[in-house]
């Protein structure tokens, strides 16, 4: 019994420390210009590049816009903040605090997660008001936004494990992964029309399942059952979290 309560106490203090880390990132990084550029403007231009000159009804593109906005905004905080904190040695503070590395990873991801959830409201509102895109399955939409944000925020933290003091290094590695995902994950091109090797990647990409959920939220035809989407995203989050934990341990000489 005592062991259980001791364990519980540890879990609670771990989460509150993780929240302290997220809070600190919110205070410091949300308004940094480079984060606004990569988190908000980048997805907008990405979208315009696809949408302009297409005959399709803009309303059909709203779910895809939401998905890529989340992809970019959620993974735009940690790849900047962590290398900068390595440079100023403040990251060493987190690594020497009385919390597990898992909680450090979680805390870092949380700020990206919340950022993406907020930013996703912009295309959502725009889609509903300007293009009259109807939301027909709110739980699926909410699950899509939340899980997708959390998944890519954790992926951002994972990439930031690479021991560099320069955000550019991590951003370029990240873009190497993020950009191709847009093309194969059914965001703009339906998965069925993606050529063969791309389809394999599509099934491995969390964006595929997140996008599928958001599509379901807007009552569009989907590729998988929503519960399968949710399961796939949860597995991806768990995998990124544990891989990130391992990498931070390895690289922290």
């Amino acid at each position: 019994m005592r062991i259980v309560s001791e364990y519980w106490r540890e879990v609670c203090t771990g989460f509150s420390a993780a929240w302290a880390i997220a809070r600190k990132d919110i205070l410091i990084y949300y308004l940094k210009p480079n984060i606004i550029v990569s988190g908000m403007l980048f997805p907008l231009f990405m979208f315009l590049a696809f949408a302009v000159g297409r005959p399709a009804d803009p309303a059909t593109m709203v779910p895809g816009l939401i998905a890529i906005t989340i992809l970019f905004s959620s993974s735009s905080i940690e790849p900047v903040s962590i290398p900068l904190e390595r440079r100023t040695k403040t990251f060493e503070r987190l690594l020497s605090a009385p919390i597990s590395l898992h909680m450090v990873v979680l805390g870092e991801s949380m700020s990206g997660f919340l950022y993406a959830c907020c930013i996703a409201l912009v295309p959502l509102a725009a889609g509903m008001v300007l293009f009259k895109a109807p939301v027909s399955d709110l739980p699926a939409l909410a699950a899509g936004i939340v899980l997708l944000s959390f998944c890519f925020a954790t992926m951002g933290t994972l990439f930031a494990a690479y021991p560099t003091e320069s955000p550019g290094d991590i951003m370029s590695m990240l873009n190497l992964v993020r950009l191709p995902l847009i093309f194969v994950s059914g965001v703009f091109v339906p998965i069925g029309e993606v050529p063969f090797p791309g389809q394999v990647i599509a099934y491995l990409s969390p964006l595929t399942y997140g996008n599928d959920l958001v599509q379901a939220g807007f009552g569009k035809a989907t590729h998988f059952h929503p519960l399968l989407d949710i399961a796939a995203l949860c597995i991806a989050i768990g995998a990124f979290q544990s891989l990130a934990n391992r990498l931070y341990r390895t690289f922290n000489e």
């Binding site: 809070r23 040695k89 403040t90 060493e92 009385p98 597990s100």
Partner: protein, 316 residues
């Protein structure tokens, strides 16, 4: 129970052997100094003992808890002041303290009263709500120390707390360290500054190239090298003094010119004083002052780290 116990700690970075198996223990309430040149392994030792990095050999304990296997409970007992003043320059002094307190799970009321206290002790009260971007080096250092103390640690690690600071910041920081000692806090501090170790520490370990050369109280370390006592003489015409003549005096083992004074190293100060008097009479010089000096911690340090073998210091 020891506050710190290090047993054959070893750390390799690839081919670099940063620590070659060091062992020591620090008692509760003690102020323990780690004195060594750049690259000796001081920071590496702290990083291992705080569980930030794992040793490649040996083990460490903090209040009986293993620093690898019981890392988190061990860390709850300690405060850390890193070598670099790692504060968040986008946050105010207050926000920095609150963040650290939250990280250490210090309750709201306690963290606020403690932060006010620390800001006042460290002379930062007036700058509480200013962004720390504009803080001077000394202010940043003092804030870093406040952050290291916000969780009321029983053991404080200080990595070069006063390196490169002005007199005022230095005095404030030394004062805080002495106050903590009175409160029974165990302190582990690293420094290059011999005088600081001499003033603050109950015991000092001299570390060089990943090995401990000696551990003892500052006074006993000095006694181990009684042969390096010295006499400092100032003559009225410093320009006319010939070092060769002084070196020729019986029992003198070394001569160092220090500004307008000359330092004669010897194991037998009374005999050398006689010799210096004779020399002054013969050379028609007047002695303005003459002092005997015991061995300094610096002499011990130079001797033990082998710096004198590299031809430094001008000893013939």
């Amino acid at each position: 129970m020891h506050a710190i116990e290090a047993i054959s700690l070893e750390k390799r970075f690839g081919t670099i052997q940063a620590l070659a198996g060091i062992s020591f223990s620090v008692e509760e309430g003690e102020t323990f100094g780690f004195l060594g040149p750049n690259g000796a392994g001081k920071t590496t030792t702290i990083r291992i003992l705080t569980g930030t990095t794992e040793p490649t050999g040996g083990s460490g304990r903090i209040f009986g808890r293993d620093v690898v296997r019981e890392k988190i409970p061990a860390r709850r007992e300690i405060g850390i002041v890193h070598e670099t003043s790692n504060i968040y320059t986008d946050l105010s002094a207050w926000e920095n303290l609150m963040f650290t307190a939250r990280l250490y799970n210090v309750g709201k009321r306690e963290r606020e009263s403690r932060a006010l206290d620390l800001l006042s002790v460290l002379g930062l009260t007036g700058r509480k709500d200013d962004k720390t971007k504009g803080f001077s080096k000394g202010m940043k250092r003092r804030l870093t120390i406040a952050m290291g103390l916000i969780n009321k640690p029983h053991l404080l690690f200080l990595d070069e707390p006063t390196s490169g600071l002005d007199v005022q910041s230095n005095l404030i920081i030394r004062d805080v360290i002495q106050r903590l000692t009175r409160e029974g806090v165990t302190i582990f501090l690293t420094t290059h500054n011999i005088e600081e170790a001499n003033i603050l520490c109950d015991r000092v370990a001299i570390i060089n190239r990943g090995r401990i050369a000696a551990i003892d109280t500052p006074e006993r370390l000095k006694k181990t090298i009684q042969s390096v006592q010295s006499i400092e003489v100032a003559f009225d015409l410093p320009g006319a003094v010939r070092a060769e003549d002084l070196a020729g005096i019986d029992q003198v083992t070394g001569v160092r010119k220090m500004g307008d004074k000359v330092r004669l190293i010897t194991g037998d100060p009374p005999a050398v004083i006689e010799g210096v008097m004779d020399y002054a009479r013969r050379a028609n010089l007047r002695i303005i002052s003459i002092n005997t000096r015991g061995p300094s911690l610096e002499d011990v340090f130079i001797r033990l780290t082998g710096l004198d073998e590299k031809g430094g210091g001008g000893t013939p």
